[in-house]
Subunit: 259 residues, 2 copies
């Protein structure tokens, strides 16, 4: 069985090329550190002059070029690339090509400091909580998070301008459109809600309330809401997550008790 980690330190260009070709054909994760130039052609075009970078090639054919700073890669290619590796004027050149859209990144190393070929096994589950979807599910489960007496009718209702997060009826029988934002709700969110409410009003021909539910509003948005005859309701993502967790454990209890 092959080693999980194979490392070449300061390899010659030829040594690096040999190891790289083998690693690419066996679909390994590859780490390359060295001095390189990068050119991109496709949806846009870019040129990056000589400097030290970290290049990460993954099993699914994605590639990232990282500078020593910044969250985002300076150049990249999404999963599904074809790779070519070769020599070019004493340099190691790697080309990552994809079609649809047709684009390519080519990286030219004049020096390689480190080449690591990795056999990684990762089947770990990933779970993200307190997303906007979680908040929506929480409101459907407990509409009182928005206001007492509210009853949910549908969610993700398709209307012309987009999707209504939660569509409900209040204690007095009026239609309510609820737009949920996980972060600070800005002007765009208010306008989005406005479009939905306008559409429902035109269709339903009765009184329709619009409620923007978010942890907080951006400056000036309260005034915009007032002008548009819409309402704001503070809604905490964490509290929504707790509602979901409670509901899940309740379901579990009922399941155990009932079974």
């Amino acid at each position: 069985m092959e080693e999980a980690v194979t490392i070449l330190q300061h390899p010659s260009v030829k040594e690096a090329l040999n190891a790289l070709r083998k690693a690419l054909s066996s679909r390994r994760v590859i780490l390359l550190v060295g001095s390189c130039r990068v050119d991109y052609r496709g949806r846009a075009e870019s040129k990056l002059e000589l400097g030290d970078r970290v290049v990460l090639i993954k099993e699914d054919g994605s590639i990232l070029v990282h500078r020593p700073y910044g969250y985002e890669p300076v150049n990249w290619q999404p999963p599904g690339c074809m790779f070519q590796a070769g020599l070019r004027e004493d340099c190691l050149q790697i080309r990552a090509v994809r079609r649809a859209p047709r684009e390519s990144v080519s990286i030219t190393f004049n020096r390689v400091y480190l080449l690591a070929v990795l056999r990684l096994v990762d089947a770990g589950a990933f779970a993200l909580h307190a997303t906007e979807e979680d908040m929506q599910r929480a409101v459907l489960l407990e509409p009182s998070l928005i206001e007492e007496g509210l009853r949910a009718i549908t969610y993700e209702k398709r209307v012309e301008p987009g999707f209504i997060d939660v569509y409900a009826v209040d204690s007095q029988g009026r239609l309510v459109v609820v737009e949920i934002k996980r972060g600070t709700a800005g002007r765009e969110a208010a306008l989005q809600l406005h479009r939905y409410v306008q559409h429902v009003r035109a269709t339903a021909n009765q009184e329709v309330r619009g409620i923007l539910a978010a942890p907080r509003l951006a400056k000036g948005v309260q005034r915009l809401l007032t002008n548009l005859n819409l309402e704001f309701k503070r809604l905490d993502p964490k509290k929504c997550a707790e509602v979901l967790k409670r509901a899940a454990s309740r379901r579990l209890t009922e399941f155990v008790d009932g079974g």
Copy 2:
């Protein structure tokens, strides 16, 4: 002078911790490969179970956790983090904390396959062409890209709904609002243009044309434009980039000839 690349292969947790602490305090770029769990708390919450990952820590205090597949990091922290490294039940634990917003990522390695500490020098210039801003500048330089006889008045004009990309007058003296998109223009772009045009009409009290300029339209958007009494003009990002390049070399020629 210290080595540009320092490597520990399959270090013990204690060895890794020592090297990591030193690397963090000297603000090096750090590559860590190993088996780990990851927890995130902040704007949302996430949990990633055990698996092999590549962790990249940068000079500016950003950190990325990459699985063996996918363009995006599964967990991360933007530049400006504080790092803590320690032992936790025979595991190497790294915590990256930032405030505003308050959030943290903690990574717990039960095994480290590779630790590389890198001294990278990257001063290479990066240039990106054919962005939406390039297209806007090209249209300002040559309004005939949109239509003959068009004259630009202002750009990035502030109006209530946002910023008008290019504000112009056509050959017959009518006001023209131009909205530019670099990619496929969808429904949202048409509605955005509509809002701008409505606003200008209300303000200027005269005939106002709205032109959506983009390489192509999403399906159904042409019909929407027609309903809203707006126009579409095909505009190629690459052609815009060429216009700019031509203009730049012309300026250079004039400069050389004149000087």
